[in-house]
Each structure stands twice: as structure tokens, then as C-alpha cells.
């Protein structure tokens, strides 16, 4: 919980990890490159006071995680999003099992999500069932650019992916978090294309599709889909961190999201341990769209901030929110018409 000027904010950090990026766990140069890429993200966007050494960044102890998130980071509930990357890291980078150790010890603080890969075929479906039972899964994280031997990625529209999504529905795993990465088959197409999200969101209206990093670097494609599919959400991991060094760009991202979606479908994430929630929460509560942009984007109200910081994710994950931290207005999304419903995609892609 964060309190400022007499207003209380319920905080759900929807995208965190308990990773092991130490050299001992790096299987090859790709693992090393992956961690260094994250570390550059951290160095590039963190405030000076929040910078860690490379060694601190490689792995965080249980005490450190609890401290950063709950003791000083204002977080009420944090959601683990696993990233297996077993081709890059000997024991996986951040698996459900690794995350689950902490979640089991602190059930009041953490929710742990699962993961699956349609390339695991029939065996993977059985594994998902066991995972769901073991961890009472309500969500799953998918990384379509994950390498698996010769394969350099997969699409949500692959036939096996549909089988897994059906299985999710059957098991009550309602929240499907998706992260796009730079490598995916076929390599001659845009790996960040979110068109496959559009297809599965239409095919599975009962499921929620949370596109991590709000589709960045394809914000426009993400907005285009999200305005038409009421079950598509935007996770603010990475996007949040622009607030410190690039506030005007951050204002544009938030402004665009509020224009194309609505304030009920955007969720706060620190992407811990790339960044820590403390400064993100503090800065976001103080943040406002710059005055010269307000005619276009409007302003961020307390209720909008409350929804983004915690209420929206709480709704997705059935998390109890104390009465004094709820929004003043009703929580039910209005299910408004898409912004550009009168146009077809063909006409817009010139």
C-alpha cells in the first residue's frame, strides 16, 4: 500500500521474477548476452540512486526480494511471471518452480504463474495439468521468441498453441501473459508482430490476454488490436521505467493507451529485478501528463492511477482490495465501441 496526500493506493506488481542469471547458471554466450541486455535496460532507465552492480543484478536473495518489493516497495501482491529459457540457462532463468519456492513460503504476498510451450506437444499438456494443480494457477506467461533446439520461436496461432489455450480454459487459467521477443520463426517476418494475439483473443473470449510491455516496440499494432478486442490488456513492464529519463515519451505511451483502450485494461509492473517498484510507484503517483500535451491526452486522475497501480490486476486475479483503496467510480468496464470500428484493417495499413 502506498499513501500520498491522504489517498491510499493498493499496489499489485504484475510482472516480477526471482531469476538466476549468475555465470554458473549461464549455459552459453546467449545466456550471458540475455542477462547483459537486461542489465543495460536497468542501467539505461534507472534513476542514479537505484543503480545496482552487475553482480547484484545477477541474482537476488529471498531477503532482498522481500525487502525491495514489500518492505520498501509498497507492493501488496506480486505476480511471478516465469521465463524458462532452458536453452540459455542450465537450470532455467526463472521457472515456476524457482518462483514457487518463495510463493509457498509467503502465500499472502505472491501469486505464481505457470508457463508452457506448444512445441512440447502432448507431453507438455500433461505437464501443464500437473503444474496447474501443484500451484493453483490462474495465469501463465508465454514467451514466443524462446529458443528450443533448432526452433527459434512459435506463434499463438500454431495448432498446438490452440490445444494449450483450450487446456488453460479447462483448468481455469484465465490470464495469458504474452511477451514477444526478437527471434521467432520465420526470421524474415517481424518478430514483434502481435497479429496472432488478435486471432486468439477472438477465438478465446473467456480468456484475458495481457500483452507485456504494451506491445513495445510495436505500440501502434498493440493499440490497434486492443481497441477491438475487449479481452486484450496491456502490461506496463518496461514502459513504466521511461518515466524517469523520458517523461514525455512515457506520457505519450500512457496517453495512447488511454485513448485506444481504457483505464481498466492497463496493469502496473516493475519487471523486477530489472527495476524496483519503490521509485516507480512514487513517481507514477506524482506523474502528470505535461501541460502542453493535455489537450490531446487529457490528465491522469487519482482513480486512473489507482486502477493502473493495482485495481485492474486485482480484478484479473480475484485479489481482495480494502474498501478505502477502491476507485470512486464503478469497477465494471464499460465495454465501449472500438475507436475505429468503422474502418477495416486494410484501410489503416497504408
Amino acid at each position: 500500500m502506498y499513501e500520498k496526500d491522504g489517498t491510499k493506493y493498493f499496489i499489485v506488481d504484475s510482472h516480477i521474477h526471482a531469476w538466476d542469471g549468475t555465470p554458473a547458471n549461464q549455459a552459453n554466450r546467449y545466456g550471458e548476452g540475455f542477462l547483459n541486455c537486461f542489465y543495460d535496460y536497468h542501467r539505461n532507465l534507472s534513476p542514479e540512486s537505484e543503480l545496482w552492480t552487475h553482480e547484484q543484478f545477477q541474482k537476488q536473495s529471498e531477503e532482498k526480494i522481500l525487502h525491495d518489493l514489500f518492505e520498501v516497495g509498497y507492493v501488496d501482491k506480486a505476480i511471478f511471471q516465469p521465463t524458462y529459457l532452458t536453452d540459455f540457462f542450465v537450470n532455467g532463468f526463472n521457472t515456476t518452480e524457482q518462483d514457487g519456492v518463495l510463493a509457498e513460503k509467503h502465500p499472502d504476498k505472491f501469486i505464481v504463474n505457470g508457463g508452457w510451450d506448444p512445441r512440447d506437444g502432448e507431453a507438455g499438456l500433461g505437464a501443464l495439468e500437473r503444474l496447474a494443480e501443484r500451484w493453483q494457477l490462474k495465469g501463465t506467461k508465454l514467451y514466443t521468441a524462446e529458443w528450443k533446439g533448432e526452433s527459434k520461436g512459435w506463434k499463438l496461432t500454431d495448432p498446438w498453441s490452440y490445444r494449450y489455450l483450450e487446456k488453460c480454459q479447462e483448468l481455469g487459467i484465465r490470464n495469458i501473459h504474452i511477451h514477444k521477443g526478437p527471434t521467432i520463426y520465420p526470421l524474415n517476418r517481424d518478430a514483434f508482430d502481435v497479429a496472432d494475439v488478435d486471432d486468439v483473443a477472438s477465438a478465446f473470449p473467456e480468456l484475458n490476454f495481457i500483452v507485456e510491455h504494451v506491445g513495445l516496440p510495436r505500440l501502434e499494432d498493440f493499440c490497434w488490436i486492443a481497441t477491438q478486442e475487449p479481452n486484450v490488456y496491456g502490461g506496463l513492464a518496461v514502459a513504466m521505467a521511461f518515466m524517469n529519463h523520458r517523461p514525455r515519451y512515457f506520457a505519450q505511451i500512457i496517453g495512447e493507451l488511454l485513448f485506444w483502450l481504457d483505464e481498466n485494461r492497463i496493469t502496473f509492473s516493475s519487471d523486477y529485478a530489472i527495476w524496483t517498484p519503490k521509485w516507480l510507484v512514487e513517481q507514477f503517483v506524482d506523474f502528470q501528463i505535461p501541460e502542453d500535451m493535455q489537450s490531446e491526452y487529457g490528465v491522469l486522475t487519482t482513480d486512473v492511477k489507482r486502477k493502473i497501480l493495482g485495481l485492474n490486476a486485482a480484478r484479473l486475479y480475484d485479489i481482495e482490495v480494502p474498501a478505502e483503496m477502491r476507485a470512486a467510480e464503478p469497477e465494471i468496464p464499460t465495454g465501449r465501441e472500438p475507436v475505429a470500428s468503422e474502418l477495416n484493417k486494410e484501410a489503416m495499413s497504408s
Binding site: 548476452g33 527459434k152 516496440p217 493499440c223 505519450q252 495512447e256 475505429a340 468503422e342
Partner: protein
């Protein structure tokens, strides 16, 4: 010696025509050129990117385009372009050197060449420039209904307009003075119905492209240290 110096300049100028397709900016301005070296009639170019995992398809396009731009210079017999510090450096460098195309550089991982990918991003850039020019007209009082009639010949010169014309030429769309400012991907006029939504989406596209460029610049600085532009000669 004098020839070497002027060829250096020519090489730099040639590299200035190579764009990052995703960011629509020259690699020289993005600081992606780590160094160039002229040795008689041989030219060596080193490129670098903001992250180890930058998308290999865009990386390949830049390496191949850099190779072609320099190879076209008079007095150049041999070109070697190397991409540094990238997970697919080896495949990309070897593929471009062999000149067999992208598909051959990544056997089994690609399903064809990169022409369509390049077009996709040219279209995005074109859409963003259209919006930029159109917004200026709207600010000056042009009505939406008149906007669809505006032709390129009647516009004030501007960087956005130059770039828009260049993208049109690359896309094979009309770019002469009689060409309409607002055309769809087939070069046809755009109806006034739905125009504001179309412009709104184009603006989002522009925000996205500009934002990505800023992010990439920042990451490149973080990765290689910000020290202004890359050395324009001498490889280390």
C-alpha cells in the same frame, strides 16, 4: 593519401544512405557505425547495435545495405562489413559476404527474403510522415474535407515532405507534384469518412517509431558509453 581521405568521406556518405528500417534513420546518425577503414581499394566497415539480441532480420538488412552502398562507390574493389557483438553476427556476416541472401544465411529458420519486411516498415514510416505533414496543415486551419484534396506540389518544403517523397519512391507510390498527400497503400485517395481515426492511428505509429529510436539510442549509449559519434576511421 589524398585519395584515401576522400574515399573515407565517400564511404561515410554512402553509409549515410543506409537506414535502420525499423527506426527509419541513417545508421550514421544512430551511431551504429563503429568504424571504417580504407586500405587502397578495400574498405572495411564495422557496425554495432544497441543490444546483443536486436532482431536479426533488421540487422541483416543494415549489414547488406551497408555492403551494397559502399561496393557501389567508384574505386572500391572489395568491401567487408562486420556486425559486432550480436548473437547472430557470424551468420549475418558470412551471409552478406557470400551474397546468397537471408534465407541461405539462416537455413531452415527463414521462409523467404526480407523484401516484405522492409516494405512493412517503409509503409509505417510513410504513414508517420503523412500524418506529420497533415497535422501541420490542420494546425494552419485546413479542414479535413480539404485535406484529402491536397497535392504534394502545393506544400511548403519540409524535411518530413522530402522523406515522405523518398518513401513513396521506394514503395512505388506516386510522389510527383500532382500526387495527393493522403493516399492508401495502393496509392489511392483516402475518403474523408474515417480520416480522423486514420490520422490518429498514424500518429500512434509515429509515436511508436520515434519512441523506439530514442530507446535504441539510449541503449547504445549505455552499451558502448556515450562519447558522441563513433570513430570515423581506424578499427580497434
Amino acid at each position: 593519401m589524398t585519395t584515401a581521405v576522400s574515399l573515407e568521406t565517400e564511404v561515410w556518405r554512402a553509409l549515410g544512405t543506409v537506414l535502420d528500417p525499423e527506426l527509419d534513420q541513417p545508421v550514421t546518425e544512430l551511431d551504429f557505425v563503429a568504424g571504417t577503414e580504407v586500405d587502397g581499394d578495400e574498405v572495411h566497415v564495422d557496425l554495432r547495435l544497441p543490444t546483443y539480441f536486436c532482431a536479426p532480420n533488421f540487422a541483416y538488412l543494415m549489414v547488406a545495405d551497408a555492403h551494397d552502398a559502399v561496393a557501389e562507390l567508384p574505386g572500391v574493389r572489395r568491401v567487408r562489413v562486420r556486425l559486432l557483438d550480436h548473437f547472430a553476427s557470424e551468420e549475418i556476416n558470412a551471409g552478406v559476404a557470400a551474397g546468397d541472401g537471408f534465407d541461405a544465411a539462416f537455413p531452415g529458420l527463414a521462409a523467404g527474403e526480407l523484401d516484405e519486411l522492409r516494405r512493412t516498415f517503409l509503409r509505417k514510416a510513410h504513414l508517420a510522415y503523412q500524418e506529420q505533414v497533415a497535422q501541420q496543415l490542420l494546425r494552419e486551419g485546413t479542414e479535413l474535407a480539404d485535406l484529402v484534396e491536397v497535392r504534394l506540389g502545393g506544400l511548403q518544403p519540409s524535411t518530413a515532405l522530402d522523406r515522405l517523397r523518398r518513401r513513396r519512391d521506394q514503395l512505388g507510390l506516386p510522389s510527383g507534384p500532382d500526387a495527393l498527400l493522403l493516399v492508401d497503400e495502393h496509392g489511392d485517395a483516402v475518403p474523408v469518412e474515417g480520416l480522423s481515426a486514420r490520422l490518429r492511428f498514424a500518429r500512434t505509429t509515429r509515436v511508436s517509431i520515434e519512441g523506439n529510436a530514442g530507446w535504441c539510442r539510449g541503449l547504445l549509449d549505455t552499451r558502448y558509453g556515450s562519447g558522441g559519434t563513433a570513430a570515423r576511421s581506424g578499427l580497434h
